[in-house]
């Protein structure tokens, strides 16, 4: 091929001598926007996003540095304070065991957030890879995966977790809970990932990349994965919230985290007995749990709306 010369006739080739020229011009003044930049533009205009982002930031901060928020020890309990009213330095009062509710609520964040984040990471790694590979390569691996996910879907997450967790009597800790939730949580994400990948796989730009000589793996990593990541991010954000609820449910049943780990679920279970006399004992851990879950679900909602081109134009 000759080194492409600039042809003299090109100047008028697409010349803007009518309004048609306007259509053909590239707007060079605005900032370049990619799909993600577009989504971000949309996202930053949503109050729901900012509210949930602020809440998530707060929850993460509390989980990471609980001592920044209280100087009290959540495990320091005196029975003489049992169900005590709020006093100076103890804004939420005391529970039946005489522990400071504010300190327990603050320290409870770590267990919930750790379970939620770690389970989501585990599920993202396992489910994302399995679903992505099955969706992209298809064939027997895909069929096998579909059957396996069907099997896992036949057992509801909490039910399965209950059955397994009650087997662990002594060695319960955050990791066992994460592992159990992860084992039963990954098929859902694998299914979502697979669907997203299949939808992108048949795009013409993927075929075009293959025709350019890109290898299948390179196409998967460079083109398919970035384009399929939207639904995966949304699903895992919402799932993070459900994992936190699942952990709380297990702790509530007494088969989640051990008593020495401060957990909202366990505190709610304990508060049950004081409900009639002191409803606020139940309120604080429940509200903390609900707000944490809510912030992740709202974030997922906001991101979904921002990524959905149909919702965007409206």
């Amino acid at each position: 091929m000759p080194d492409a010369p600039v042809r003299p006739d090109q100047a008028h080739f697409f010349a803007a001598d009518t309004e048609l020229g306007l259509v053909d011009q590239v707007d060079e003044t605005s900032a370049p926007t990619s799909l993600w930049a577009d989504a971000w533009q949309n996202l930053r205009r949503r109050p729901l996003f900012w509210v949930s982002a602020a809440l998530i930031a707060l929850v993460l901060l509390v989980a990471a540095f609980p001592s920044m928020f209280t100087s009290l020890d959540p495990r320091f309990c005196e029975l003489r304070n049992s169900l005590g009213e709020p006093t100076a330095g103890h804004p939420f009062g005391f529970d039946r065991q005489g522990c400071d509710i504010y300190a327990r609520t603050i320290y409870g964040a770590r267990a919930s957030v750790a379970t939620g984040v770690l389970t989501t990471l585990l599920v993202l790694i396992v489910g994302g890879i399995v679903g992505g590979v099955a969706g992209f390569y298809g064939g027997w691996f895909d069929s096998l995966l579909s059957r396996v996910t069907d099997i896992f879907f036949a057992i509801p997450l909490v039910l399965a977790a209950i059955v397994v967790m009650q087997m662990f009597k002594e060695s319960r800790n955050i990791l066992t809970v994460v592992l159990v939730l992860g084992i039963f949580g990954w098929p859902q994400l694998a299914r979502v990932t697979r669907g997203a990948v299949v939808a992108v796989r048949h795009s013409e730009f993927v075929t075009a990349a293959r025709a350019l000589g890109a290898s299948r793996l390179a196409t998967l990593i460079r083109h398919v994965a970035p384009n399929a990541s939207g639904p995966v991010i949304v699903t895992s954000t919402v799932a993070l919230g459900t994992y936190i609820v699942a952990e709380a449910t297990l702790s509530f049943l007494g088969i989640g985290l051990p008593p020495q780990i401060t957990s909202w679920g366990a505190d709610i279970a304990k508060a049950q007995t004081s409900l009639r006399s002191e409803p606020m004992v139940l309120f604080y851990p429940s509200a903390a749990l609900a707000l944490t879950v809510l912030s992740f679900i709202m974030m997922g909602d906001a991101v979904r709306d921002a990524l959905d081109p149909k919702a965007r134009t409206r």
Binding site: M1, P2, D3, A4, V6, R7, D9, Q10, H12, F13, F14, A15, D17, T18, E19, L20, V23, D24, V26, D27, E28, S30, P32, T33, S34, L35, W36, A37, D38, S203, E204, F205, T207, A208, A209, R210, A211, L212, G213, A214, A218, H223, P226, N227, T313, R314
Partner: protein, 585 residues
């Protein structure tokens, strides 16, 4: 913009006839995040009883929005912000919801654009026709059932009574459109709005459906407001044309007059570039000095031994296995059946056929993206299937595709720079600096400014994206490009622009094209040789002139006949076209 007299239009019958529909200074706006956007800007037009008026325009011209305003069904945030729409003397922009319900179906019918999505998939077709009868007080109960069957039969649906009991997904596109025509005409409205009623259908189907619709409305004396992007089609079907551009009417008048003597520059350009009306191959900038006869003779009459074929396809067959009706059962579909052809270097061969003819499957096999069941593809005499990994990689450099959908073939996450650079990076051509220089060069080649590099595909128009796709395909300096319906999704003017560009690049770089299309009109503009495909077979193969002037096969004749505007006697003889017509775009 030249001011245009609109209401000089004479009623078709007698001067005393009152217009059925009179749109005056209509303005329609949509509320968006960036404020009000005007889609229709002061449109006026008149439809007399029994008259067929066509609104012609590109996508975004406001033609469909105008039509939807007439039936009070503006989508989303759309609102009439000015002007009047008088139907039978009453301004319906002021009508309340109840009056509009009374008007719809009974007075104004609609035949929508995409037949596949316009019938409710969960109700039987007959039920959906009956609904129109019942809602407009035409018939109820068993009388409605009988009448619905009559209407479906009248719309040209064979075996209507049985078909009425079926669901939409059991119908073909053409059959669905007939059912929608039956619904649109069910209550015998005075005005029928036909919104691109056949643009989703194959040309031959399109023609029979339109013929039928035309006969039916003429018989019933129904006025038709026909919306289309195809000037040829409009001229063929309507008495009166209204040309819209960017929300405004730029020209209106009797169809033949506009075609013969377009006065507005936009219409002139539209007439000049309408592929259905062009009758010669586009000449490249270089060749414009050369006589066209010389250009067209270099292919075809050489003996096969002397031809330098870059690609030849021999006895290609591809069978797909599809799941059958019962578990475990499969049926076989022969998508490509013993196809043989060869493409001489530096020329364009078009593969023409309707949907399901197997033309795209051939393209995929030629690109080595799909393996043939039997037969082979030779590039410069080498069987492509025998290539090892490294030589296949080389093959990718030599043969590049351009796909149909300019919105789908570019990765939305990639900037234009990354998009065009990708093939260079994959093949390890040059370093970062030389690659950037090459991207600039390529953008220049497709006449886009270098600043486009930083943009993303969603910021560009369809035509611009298709030019990016061309630049990407050219990056590796291929010898051959496979264009799979590369211009089908583009508006006429943009289509002409891209075709001219492709043609110039061919002369300049000595490219060979395999052009896959359903549009014979486009073939005439670009191809040297044509292979007509039907049901997986090549039924006719010859030079473009031979196929157009002396088609041998009945099927080819049918296809040619079905080109919108092909039957217009008054098509100006443009055997020696003004070179500027297409090139100035």
């Amino acid at each position: 913009m030249i001011p245009v007299e609109i209401d000089t239009q004479a009623p078709p019958l007698a001067t005393t006839v009152e217009p059925l529909l009179r749109i005056s200074d209509l303005e329609v706006s949509f509320a968006t995040a960036n404020g009000l956007v005007q889609a229709v800007r002061g449109v006026s037009l008149t439809v007399y009883p029994g008259q067929t008026v066509a609104i012609v325009g590109e996508s975004g011209s406001g033609k469909s929005t105008t039509a939807h305003a007439v039936i009070g069904l503006l989508p989303g945030t759309g609102k009439v912000t000015g002007g009047t729409i008088e139907f039978g003397g009453v301004d319906i922009t002021q009508a309340d919801a109840k009056d509009m319900v009374a008007l719809r179906g009974k007075e104004i019918g609609l035949v929508p654009q995409d037949p596949m999505s316009n019938l409710n998939p969960v109700w039987k077709v007959g039920f959906q026709v009956k609904e129109a009868l019942r809602a407009n007080g035409v018939a109820t109960g068993s009388a409605a059932t009988a009448r619905a069957n009559e209407l479906l039969a009248e719309a040209g649906l064979r075996d209507a009574a049985r078909r009425a009991k079926q669901y939409p997904h059991q119908f073909s596109g053409g059959m669905l459109q007939r059912a929608l025509i039956a619904i649109g005409l069910a209550a015998r409205p005075q005005l029928l709005i036909a919104d691109e009623p056949t643009s989703a259908l194959d040309v031959t189907v399109q023609r029979t459906v339109l013929d039928h619709l035309q006969g039916l409305t003429r018989e019933l004396g129904t006025a038709v407001l026909f919306i289309t992007h195809d000037l040829g089609l409009a001229a063929e079907r309507a008495d009166h044309l209204v040309v819209m551009y960017r929300g405004k009417v730029v020209e209106s008048g009797p169809a033949r007059e506009i075609l013969a003597d377009p006065s507005h520059p936009y219409t002139r350009r539209l007439v000049a570039s309408a592929p259905s009306l062009a009758s010669r191959r586009i000449q490249s900038a270089k060749e414009r000095g050369v006589r066209s006869s010389e250009l067209l003779t270099h292919a075809g009459d050489d003996g096969p031994s002397r031809r330098d074929d870059i690609i030849s396809v021999e006895h290609l067959t591809r069978v797909f296995r599809l799941p059958g009706g019962r578990p475990g059962a499969t049926r076989e579909l022969t998508a490509v059946d013993d196809v043989t052809f060869a493409i001489p270097r530096g020329t364009t061969t078009a593969l023409v056929g309707e949907s399901g003819s197997g033309k795209s499957t051939v393209a995929k096999i030629v690109l080595n993206l799909l393996e043939p069941t039997s037969g082979r593809v030779l590039i410069d005499g080498t069987d492509v299937s025998t290539l090892d990994r490294r030589r296949l990689f080389d093959f990718r450099r030599r043969v590049q595709p351009i796909f149909q959908n300019p919105y789908g073939s570019l990765d939305p996450m990639y900037s234009i720079y990354r998009t065009i650079e990708e093939p260079l990076r994959i093949h390890g051509v040059g370093d970062k600096r030389t690659r950037e220089a090459r991207v600039r060069e390529l953008l220049d080649l497709v006449a886009l400014p270098a600043s486009t590099m930083r943009r993303f595909p969603n910021e560009l128009s369809g035509g611009q994206r298709q030019r990016i796709a061309i630049a990407r395909a050219l990056a590796l300096e291929p010898e051959m490009i496979v264009c799979d319906e590369a211009v089908s999704a583009l508006d006429v003017l943009v289509q002409a622009q891209v075709l001219t560009l492709l043609n110039d690049l061919q002369t300049e770089l000595g490219l060979t094209y395999l052009f896959i299309t359903h549009d014979l009109a486009v073939v005439r503009q670009i191809a040297d040789e044509v292979c007509v495909m039907q049901d997986g077979r090549i039924v006719e193969a010859a030079t473009t002139d031979e196929v157009f002037d002396h088609p041998r096969e009945e099927y080819t004749r049918e296809l040619l006949d079905a080109i919108p505007g092909a039957r217009l006697a008054m098509t100006p003889d443009r055997g020696d076209p003004e070179p500027t017509d297409a090139a100035v775009l």
